[in-house]
Symmetry: C2
Subunit: 447 residues, 2 copies
């Protein structure tokens, strides 16, 4: 159903007092769409529309609501009404909500949960943000190795309603150490009397709780997994990260890297909803830093004031020379930042990439020199043409090599290579461009 | 198993002529790892190591091999040996391989396939690149609405070995029109005698063959789907796109957008393997275009030559003023490009975002003016300080508003908003910076 149609249906249900019929009328609507539709209403109506659904669906829809709406509901709706929904939520979404509440609000929420849920919640929300532990869910299905396929299917059928997935089941020993993984597909194809131990894969792919979440997402993508088991330092199974959460992490990481390449700080949530103060804070830091970086370019110009004064025509070419240097640098820098983020290249590849970049940048420099030499000749004659062409060749190469190397350098220093943003590389390339241009001019024109 | 360990195992198997034992020794190794390991060997050894596996595993490993290795094998290995593997491959991977072969090589491959496979292959490879049709697979499980749950489970069990997934089953009518979807989880929880029609969701999420692949990936992520059914223009079911392919598409689209924001053309595959010629071609176009864009900045400087000649101290501030304008523009442009790509904002949001940007950019401009006014005073005295501060305020605002608006304008013109790259915005901001700076200076200093 299209979103506007759905919203109209909900509005007329509210007006006609037929909200209680919605659970049957709209049972085939995807919870993500229902969540998007009810977000258009006031908090009071939103809650009426949510409460009209069946319990399990309430929890699902709640999980798709924007974070700030979840928090607003958690604060406004009485604990007695909200607790059943929160109990039905998947453990990772519940932990996310919990982390967004104030200490005081958490204290109100906790007593509404059963002992086991409370412990699970506190355990999940204790992991550091950005790690596998912080995004994993503890609602996974486990099997013992010594039961047969028929019994295993029975276990999964019984556990299905409470688990995030039953399509992958994890086989653990008495110590809860992960010893294998088996898929529901393999189970339903296998002979009923076969032991799980004979059927399972004994060398499962896994990650550890403290692994960075982008690495976890990359593993899920690389191995086409439905879910990745997460182990603690004792090799015990403590959770899974499902493919849908991995997709969200990958998208969020890409957005963060995008913003970084334009010197914008980490911005959670939609830019449309971001406050003016937040946007200001995330942008101002690097803008100011780079002003001071650009003072060096200014100082370079000031140093060559005499050359400039006697050959003002040189100034005509200044913008295009320094911009070309920065643009070439932004290109090679962005290629490296993205390839390092996706794992396409490693730190050890720097040498071979540098060698290749010298050739690519050389060709680019030659082309660019050819593009400007005519311009130089037309505006300033033979000598200027030579200076401009030679400078172009050099600055394109310098810019490219700085752009290529900076992400590796940052990575080597254990900093995020994405900090090697376009603007940072451009600023460095600008300084190099000013100095090279006027040095060559001073020398060649004999000034 | 770690990759170096696996490679050593394979090497010693080759040396000791025990390759035939690998299928049992390494059956728990993930096909992606096996593929990565055998890629380290020569094509001849690679083939021996691949042929040593069981047939179904051969096809899986083959699917994980880099595209160029697949093509090399398809050309080098005799049709009789390769055909069984290609027949076992999933239909979307087979179509990808087929699309990479020359017309002549395709002619060799086709006769090796059965009639039905041949038709399926030709149908799949006929879809335009970048569409849902080009990435979908035709190996999906279908059910009739009028069978009961017990029979449905039986159908899925029978079809499991040949289907990409049996966790989602698609219910079609006699015309192959999609009328519902049901998950394996729902099936194993439902009473055996219940009809599929009663159990299924009657309003399934779907996409159409000609939909852009990034939209398909976004739908899979939004609705947390395992697979998205693809319909033709007659609403008939023709394929599915699975979550793992959607993840790959999302990553490739993010990479393409990253590269675009630095004016690099679409680059398939790993930058490490890209040839010098390819890298040159993908980078040279915009570099040269932007040179001509920067001529306007040069012309601006030339126009104000008199002002500059009489106040050379002004030049000191030129780099930092135009860089700040470009940096602020790159920030707002990147925020918009990414938010438009993820669907966080729509074309209609331009007005409200513009209003907010005016305030954010105003605050940023004030901060930046404050940062440079002292510098202006120190380098050039009171008058210069005023000119520099006023220019900074203006150029940060102009840069930000250009950066914000350009992606919307391009999107409105049905062009990719990512073309509003940092370098393009910087070039426009540079021209505005030069003209504003020297205009203000000429006017205020009474030159």
């Amino acid at each position: 159903m299209e979103l506007p149609v759905l919203i109209n249906r909900l509005r007329s249900a509210l007006e006609n007092n037929t909200v209680q019929l919605l659970q049957d009328q709209l049972e085939d609507v995807h919870p993500a769409d229902y969540a998007a539709a009810i977000t258009e209403f006031s908090l009071e109506h939103l809650w009426m529309l949510l409460a009209a659904l069946r319990r399990a669906e309430q929890a699902e829809v709640f999980g798709y609501l924007p974070a700030e709406v979840q928090v607003a509901l958690a604060i406004r709706i009485s604990r007695r009404k909200l607790a059943p929904i929160i109990r039905q939520m998947s453990s990772d979404e519940r932990a996310d909500l919990f982390n967004r509440l104030t200490a005081e609000q958490r204290e109100t929420l906790l007593p509404a949960l059963a002992q086991a849920e409370r412990e699970d919640l506190l355990r999940l929300s204790s992991h550091q943000e950005g790690t596998a532990g912080a995004i994993m869910t503890s609602d996974y299905a486990i099997l013992a190795p010594d039961i047969n396929v028929l019994d295993a299917l029975d276990v999964l059928r019984r556990e299905a309603p409470d688990k995030e997935t039953i399509y992958s089941a994890y086989v653990v020993d008495a110590d809860r150490k992960l010893i294998g993984v088996v898929s529901l597909r393999e189970l339903i194809l296998a002979p009923a009397a076969m032991l799980v131990d004979e059927l399972m894969n004994h060398d499962p792919i896994y990650a550890t709780v403290e692994m960075a979440q982008e690495q976890v997402a990359a593993m899920v993508a690389k191995y086409d997994l439905l879910a990745l088991p997460i182990l603690n330092t004792e090799q015990q199974m403590v959770g899974i990260v499902t493919y849908d959460d991995a997709m969200d992490v990958a998208a969020a990481e890409a957005t963060e890297d995008f913003h970084k390449t334009a010197t914008i700080g980490k911005l959670d949530g939609n830019v449309k909803d971001a406050s003016i103060g937040l946007l200001y804070r995330k942008r101002v830091f690097w803008l100011v830093i780079l002003v001071f970086g650009n003072i060096f370019s200014g100082a370079g110009i000031a140093y060559f004031e005499e050359t400039i004064a006697s050959y003002l025509a040189l100034l005509f070419f200044l913008p295009l020379l320094i911009a070309s240097s920065g643009n070439a640098g932004a290109q090679s820098g962005t290629l490296m930042v993205r390839a390092l983020a996706t794992g396409d290249i490693k730190l050890r590849d720097w040498g071979s990439l540098l060698a290749k970049e010298c050739l690519v940048a050389g060709l680019l420099g030659l082309t660019m020199s050819f593009a400007v030499v005519w311009l130089g000749w037309w505006r300033g004659g033979y000598d200027i043409a030579i200076v401009v062409a030679a400078t172009m060749m050099l600055v394109v190469m310098v810019g490219s090599l700085v752009g290529l190397s900076l992400p590796f350098l940052l990575s080597r220093l254990k900093l995020d290579p994405a900090t090697a943003s376009g603007p940072l590389i451009t600023s460095i390339a600008d300084v190099a461009g000013v100095v090279l241009y006027f040095s060559i001019a001073t020398w060649y024109l004999g000034l």
